[in-house]
C-alpha cells in the first residue's frame, strides 16, 4: 500500500497515505458536525450532531493507535453520555418542536473569542511542531499496558475517579428526586 501511494507521486516514501486521507476525511466531517452542534436551531439535532462528532472522535483515536480509548469513547460517550443528553433534552423541553432562538443575545461575542483562541493556539501549534511527523507505533497501546498504568502508578486517581463516579451517581439521584 505504501508503495502504491508512493507511486502516485509522493515524495515522502514514509507518508502513510491511508492514514492521512482517513484523517482528513473524518476531520472534515467532525468539524462540520461540530459547527452544526453549536449552530443548529434544534436541540435534538444538536445532540445528534454531537453523536457524529463523538463517533468521529473515536475513529480518530483509532488512527492514533488508541484502540482501547476509542472503544471506551464509543461505549461511554456515545453510548451513555449521549443517551443521557437525550434524556436531559427530553425532560427539559417545554414544548415539542418550538424552540425559539437557541443563541443568546451576546452570541456575536463568541466569534471573536473563539477565533482569537483558535488563532493563538493554532499559531502556537504550527510554530512549535512545524513539519514534525507523528511516528508510527509498532503496535497499538496494549490493554495490558493501560491496566498496568492505571492500577499501579495511577491507582490513587483511579480510586478517586471511582469515588467521583459514585458521588456523581448519588448526587444525580439526589438532585433529580422528585420530592
Amino acid at each position: 500500500m505504501i508503495a502504491l501511494l508512493a507511486q502516485d507521486g509522493a515524495e515522502l516514501p514514509d507518508v502513510n497515505v491511508a492514514v492521512n486521507v482517513s484523517f482528513y476525511a473524518i476531520a472534515a466531517v467532525m468539524l462540520f458536525a461540530a459547527i452544526r452542534v453549536v449552530s443548529t436551531r434544534n436541540i435534538v439535532h444538536a445532540a445528534l450532531w454531537l453523536v457524529i462528532v463523538l463517533s468521529g472522535m473515536a475513529a480518530q483515536y483509532l488512527l492514533a493507535s488508541a484502540e482501547f480509548v476509542a472503544v471506551s469513547q464509543v461505549l461511554v460517550y456515545v453510548g451513555a453520555v449521549m443517551v443521557l443528553f437525550l434524556f436531559g433534552i427530553m425532560l427539559t423541553r417545554a414544548q415539542i418542536g418550538a424552540e425559539g432562538n437557541l443563541n443568546n443575545r451576546n452570541w456575536p461575542l463568541g466569534i471573536p473569542v473563539a477565533l482569537l483562541l483558535a488563532g493563538v493556539m493554532g499559531w502556537a501549534i504550527i510554530d512549535f511542531f512545524s513539519d514534525d511527523t507523528l511516528p508510527e507505533p509498532n503496535s497499538g497501546a496494549s490493554t495490558q499496558a493501560i491496566s498496568d498504568q492505571i492500577l499501579s502508578p495511577y491507582l490513587a486517581p483511579f480510586l478517586a475517579v471511582t469515588f467521583v463516579l459514585l458521588a456523581a451517581a448519588i448526587g444525580a439521584i439526589v438532585l433529580a428526586r422528585k420530592d
Binding site: 443568546n104 451576546n106 461575542l109 463568541g110 473563539a114 482569537l116 483562541l117 499559531w123 502556537a124
Partner: protein, 862 residues
C-alpha cells in the same frame, strides 16, 4: 587746727535715719501700740533732735576752733551772755571751716557712681536743728489736735517720714540725695494734704499740690543733669568727687572754669524747681489749697519746713546761682523778679481771704518771696536767717490757728463766720498769735525785724533798689493783712461758733477748696442778703450780731475749710486749748520773740552768732582729693596747712566798701598767692585752690534805714486796724458794701477773689488745652487705630474663613472626599455588568481572558 570731728558731727547721718526707722515701725506696728504709734514718732523726733543739737554744738565748737576761739563751749557761752569778745577778723584768725563730709557709695551703674552721705556745715546744722525741733513740737501738738482721727497712726507715720525726708535733703552730700529727700517730702506732702481724702476736695488739693510741684521738679532733674555733665570732669580732676556732689558743684561754679551758659541754664532750671516747691509765682497756686490738710501739716510742711526746701536749695548751691545769674553784677535777675512778684501778689490775695489758714498760707508765700529776694540779691545770710525766724513765728501762727479752730470756733477756720472776740476766751493763744504777728510784720525787737529788715537793707545795698521798694511795700501789706486777720479772729464781736452757736451740718460739711464761682463781697454783711438753699442751719441761729456769718455767700469759693475731724467736741463755747496744744505754741512764740537776737545786726558784730556759725567763709581752700567715707584729716584738710588765704568781706569792720582783709595764718610758712582784691565769687581762685562760697556783701546797719521800714510797718498796722474797726464793728456806711457799689472796687475784689484767675488759666486753659486734645487724640487712636486693628483682624479672619470654607473646604477637601466616593461608586457601577449572572458571559470572559493570557505567554516566549 581743727580737732578731730566729734561723734555727733561724724554721725549726723543718724538724724534722718532714726525717723525713717520710726516711720517703718509706726507703719508696721503702730496700731498695736498703746498710743497708736505716736509715741514712736515722738521718740524718734526727740532722738533726732538730741543728735541734731549735739551736732550743732560740735559744729559751733569746730567753728570756734577754726576761728581761733579758745573757749570751747559755744552754746554755753552763748547762753551765758550775749556779749563776748570776738577777735577782730583783721587779726587773721579765721578761715574756711571745712564741712564734715562723709559719703558712701549707694550704687554704681554705667560709670555713674551715686553716693549717699552727709555734708555738715553751718547751713545744714541750722536746718537740721530747725526741722527736728519744729517737727517735734508739731508732733506734740498733734497728740491733742488729731486725737481720735480715723487715720491717727498713718498721720504720725507720714509726719515722721516727712521729717526723715527733709532731714535727708538738708544734710545731703550730693544732688541725687537732695533729690531723694525732695521727693520724699513731696510724697509726704501729698499724703498729708489728702489725709482726709474721703472728701473729694481734699484729694484734689493734694493732687494739685503734688502735680504743681512736679512741674517744677522737671527743672530740678534738668538742672542736676546739666550741672553734672558740665561739672563732672572738673570736679573729678580737681577734687576727686563726682559732679553730683554739692561741694564739687560749689567749687566748680566759683572756679571760673565753668561755662556761664551752663551755669545760667542750670540755675534757671534749679530755680524753676524752687518756684514749684517754695510756692513762688507762677506755681504758687497749690499752697493755699494745701490748707485742706490738717493744721499740724500746714504748720510743719507748708510754712516752716517743706516750702523752705526751695530756699534751702538756692542757699545750698549758692555759688551756682551766684555765678549763673551774676548776682553781684546786675540789678535785676530772674530770681528777684519772681520773688518780688510773689511778695506783692500773695500779700494782696491775703486781704480777701476769709479762711484764717489761707491768710497764713499767702503770708507764707509772701515771706518765701522775701527769702528768695534776699538770695537773689546777694543777701545770703539775711535770707537764711529769715528761714530761721520765719519758721518760728509762722509755725506758731499756724498752731494758734489750729488752737482756735480746735477750741474756739468748733473746727471752723472761717474768720468771718465763726470767729471773733476770741481774745477774751483764749488769751494765751491770742497772746502768742499777736507776738508772732508782730514778729511777722517786722516790729522791733521781735525776730522778724532782724531778719526781714536785713533782707530789705541788703537788697537795697547790693544794687537792687527797685526791689527794695517792692519789699517795703510788701512789708506794708504784710502788716495790713495780718492786722485784719488778727482783728477778725480775736477782736470784735463773736460770731457763729465763737459765739457758741453750733451749725449741725458744718462739722461734716466741707466747703469746696476752691471754686470759680464769684461771690458777694466779703463785707456784704448786710442782713438782707437772702440765705440760700445750702444754708446749713436755720438762719434763726444767727442773731442780729452775727450778720457777717448769716450772709451765706453763695457757693463761697474760699469758704472755711472745716477740719472734718472724726470726733465731735462736746464743748459748745470757746475755751482755751489744752496743754499739749499750748506748750508748743508758747515755745514757738517765745522763740519768735527772742530768736532775732542770735543775729542782731544793729547791736554789733558780737551779736551775730548766727552769721558766724552758719555763713561759710569765702576763703580759697587748697583743693584736696576727695575723702569718701572718711573724715577729712586735719592734716590733709586744706583748711589748715599750707596757707589759707582768708578773705572776709566784712565791711562792718572796715566801715567802708568791701575790701578784703588778707592775712595768712600764723603758722603757715608757705607763701601763697594772696587772693585778688575781690575774692571768691568775683575772681577766679588761685591755682591749686578752690572757693566754696562767694564773698557776699553785708550792708552796714543804719538806724535811719531801719526806721524807714519800721515806720511803714507801723503805718500798715495802724491803718489796717482802723479800717477793720470801721468796717467790721462800727459798720461804717461808706465802707460796708463798697465792693458791691463801686465797680472798680468790685472789679478789683473779684480779681483778687479769683486769685488773678491763675487757677482758671492753669486748669481751664493750659491743662484743658493740652489735655483735651491729647485725650481726644488718645481716644481717636484707641477707637480707630487700636480697635480698628482689632476689628480689622477679626473681620479679616471672618472673610478669610468664609473664603476658605467655600473654596477650600467645600470645593477642594469635600470635593476630594466626594470624588473618591464617586470614583468608587462609579467604578462599581462600571464593573457591575460584568457580574451579570449569565453563565455564558462568565464563560466568555473566562475564555477571553485565557486567550489573552495565552497571547501574552506566546509573545513572552517567542
Amino acid at each position: 587746727m581743727l580737732a578731730a570731728n566729734g561723734w555727733f558731727l561724724d554721725n549726723a547721718w543718724l538724724i534722718p535715719l532714726i525717723p525713717a526707722i520710726g516711720f517703718a515701725v509706726i507703719i508696721l506696728f503702730g496700731k498695736r501700740l498703746p498710743m497708736q504709734g505716736s509715741e514712736v514718732g515722738l521718740a524718734t523726733m526727740a532722738a533726732s533732735l538730741v543728735i541734731a543739737a549735739g551736732t550743732a554744738f560740735q559744729w559751733m565748737q569746730r567753728v570756734d576752733e577754726a576761728t581761733g576761739e579758745e573757749e570751747a563751749a559755744g552754746p554755753i557761752r552763748y547762753l551765758a551772755g550775749m556779749g563776748r569778745s570776738l577777735t577782730v577778723a583783721a587779726e587773721g584768725e579765721g578761715g574756711f571751716v571745712e564741712p564734715v563730709i562723709r559719703s558712701w557709695t549707694w550704687w554704681e551703674s554705667g560709670g555713674f557712681e551715686f553716693g549717699i552721705g552727709q555734708h555738715i556745715d553751718g547751713l545744714a546744722v541750722m536746718a537740721l536743728l530747725l526741722v527736728a525741733f519744729i517737727s517735734l513740737l508739731v508732733q506734740i501738738f498733734s497728740l491733742e489736735y488729731v486725737r481720735g482721727d480715723r487715720r491717727y497712726t498713718h498721720f504720725f507715720a507720714a509726719l515722721t517720714l516727712f521729717s526723715a525726708g527733709m532731714l535727708v535733703m538738708v544734710l545731703a552730700e550730693n544732688m541725687v540725695q537732695l533729690l531723694l529727700g525732695w521727693e520724699i517730702m513731696g510724697l509726704c506732702s501729698f499724703m498729708l494734704i489728702g489725709h482726709w481724702w474721703e472728701e473729694e476736695d481734699n484729694a484734689r488739693a493734694a493732687l494739685k499740690a503734688f502735680l504743681t510741684v512736679r512741674v517744677g521738679d522737671i527743672g530740678l532733674l534738668v538742672g542736676i543733669a546739666v550741672l553734672y555733665f558740665s561739672a563732672n570732669p572738673w570736679t573729678q580732676e580737681n577734687l576727686g568727687v563726682s559732679g553730683f556732689s554739692i561741694r564739687g558743684l560749689s567749687a566748680w561754679a566759683l572756679s571760673g572754669e565753668a561755662s556761664s551758659t551752663v551755669l545760667l541754664w542750670g540755675s534757671v532750671a534749679l530755680f524753676i524747681a524752687c518756684i514749684g516747691k517754695s510756692g513762688q509765682f507762677p506755681l504758687h497756686t497749690w499752697l493755699p489749697d494745701a490748707m485742706a490738710g490738717p493744721t499740724p501739716v500746714s504748720s510743719l510742711l507748708h510754712s516752716s519746713t517743706m516750702v523752705v526746701a526751695g530756699v534751702f536749695l538756692v542757699a545750698r548751691l549758692y555759688p551756682v546761682f551766684w555765678e549763673g545769674f551774676s548776682i553781684p553784677d546786675v540789678s535785676v535777675n530772674f530770681i528777684v523778679v519772681i520773688a518780688a512778684i510773689t511778695i506783692v501778689i500773695s500779700a494782696l490775695l491775703a486781704f480777701v481771704q476769709t479762711d484764717i489758714k489761707k491768710v497764713l498760707a499767702y503770708s507764707t508765700v509772701s515771706q518765701l518771696g522775701y527769702m528768695m529776694l534776699g538770695l537773689g540779691a546777694g543777701a545770703w545770710l539775711p535770707a537764711v536767717f529769715h528761714i530761721f525766724t520765719h519758721a518760728f513765728f509762722k509755725c506758731c501762727l499756724f498752731l494758734c490757728a489750729g488752737s482756735v479752730s480746735h477750741s474756739g470756733s468748733h473746727h471752723s477756720f472761717d474768720m468771718k463766720r465763726d470767729m471773733g472776740g476770741l481774745a477774751k476766751k483764749m488769751p494765751i493763744t491770742a497772746g502768742a498769735w499777736i507776738v508772732s504777728t508782730l514778729a511777722l510784720a517786722g516790729v522791733f525787737p521781735l525776730s522778724g525785724f532782724f531778719s526781714k529788715d536785713e533782707i530789705i537793707d541788703n537788697v537795697g545795698h547790693n544794687g537792687y533798689e527797685v526791689f527794695m521798694y517792692v519789699a517795703l511795700f510788701g512789708a506794708f501789706l504784710t502788716a495790713g493783712y495780718m492786722a485784719r486777720a488778727t482783728y477778725l479772729t480775736f477782736f470784735g464781736e463773736p460770731r457763729g461758733a465763737a459765739a457758741g452757736e453750733r451749725h449741725e451740718e458744718h462739722a461734716d460739711l466741707h466747703a469746696p477748696a476752691y471754686a470759680m464761682a464769684g461771690a458777694h463781697g466779703d463785707d456784704a454783711g448786710l442782713p438782707d442778703t437772702a440765705p440760700t438753699e445750702d444754708d446749713p442751719a436755720d438762719p434763726v441761729l444767727h442773731g442780729a450780731d452775727a450778720t457777717p456769718g448769716a450772709a451765706r455767700e453763695v457757693g463761697d469759693p474760699d469758704d472755711a475749710v472745716v477740719d472734718t475731724q472724726d470726733h465731735h467736741d462736746s464743748h459748745a463755747s470757746p475755751h482755751e486749748s489744752g496743754k499739749l496744744i499750748l506748750v508748743p505754741v508758747c515755745i514757738l512764740a517765745f522763740l519768735a520773740l527772742v530768736s532775732g537776737f542770735t543775729n542782731a545786726v544793729p547791736f554789733g558784730e558780737e551779736w551775730e552768732d548766727f552769721k558766724k556759725y552758719v555763713e561759710p567763709i569765702p576763703a580759697e581752700v587748697e583743693a584736696a582729693p576727695a575723702e569718701s567715707g572718711t573724715e577729712p584729716e586735719p592734716e590733709a584738710g586744706a583748711a589748715t596747712s599750707a596757707g589759707i588765704v582768708m578773705a572776709r568781706s566784712d565791711t562792718r569792720v572796715e566801715g567802708s566798701a568791701s575790701d578784703e582783709t588778707q592775712a595768712a595764718r600764723g603758722e603757715s610758712a608757705a607763701a601763697d598767692e594772696p587772693a585778688s582784691s575781690e575774692g571768691c565769687g568775683f575772681t577766679d581762685p588761685a591755682a591749686g585752690t578752690v572757693c566754696y562760697f562767694p564773698a557776699v556783701d553785708h550792708a552796714e546797719f543804719k538806724w535811719s534805714k531801719a526806721a524807714q521800714s519800721l515806720v511803714i510797718v507801723a503805718v500798715g498796722l495802724v491803718a489796717s486796724w482802723l479800717i477793720c474797726i470801721q468796717l467790721y464793728t462800727k459798720r461804717n456806711r461808706r465802707l460796708v458794701g463798697l465792693t458791691e457799689r463801686s465797680t472798680l472796687a468790685g472789679g478789683v475784689y473779684r480779681f483778687l477773689w479769683n486769685k488773678y484767675y491763675l487757677d482758671h488759666l492753669y486748669e481751664k486753659v493750659i491743662v484743658h488745652g493740652v489735655a483735651h486734645p491729647i485725650a481726644r487724640a488718645a481716644y481717636w487712636v484707641n477707637q480707630r487705630v487700636i480697635d480698628g486693628a482689632v476689628n480689622g483682624a477679626g473681620l479679616t479672619g471672618k472673610v478669610v474663613g468664609r473664603w476658605v470654607y467655600r473654596n477650600i473646604d467645600q470645593r477642594v477637601v469635600d470635593g476630594a472626599v466626594n470624588a473618591s466616593g464617586l470614583v468608587s461608586s462609579e467604578t462599581g457601577h462600571a464593573l457591575q455588568p460584568i457580574q451579570s449572572g449569565k453563565v455564558n458571559q462568565y464563560g466568555a470572559l473566562l475564555f477571553a481572558a485565557a486567550a489573552v493570557f495565552a497571547i501574552v505567554l506566546v509573545i513572552a516566549n517567542a
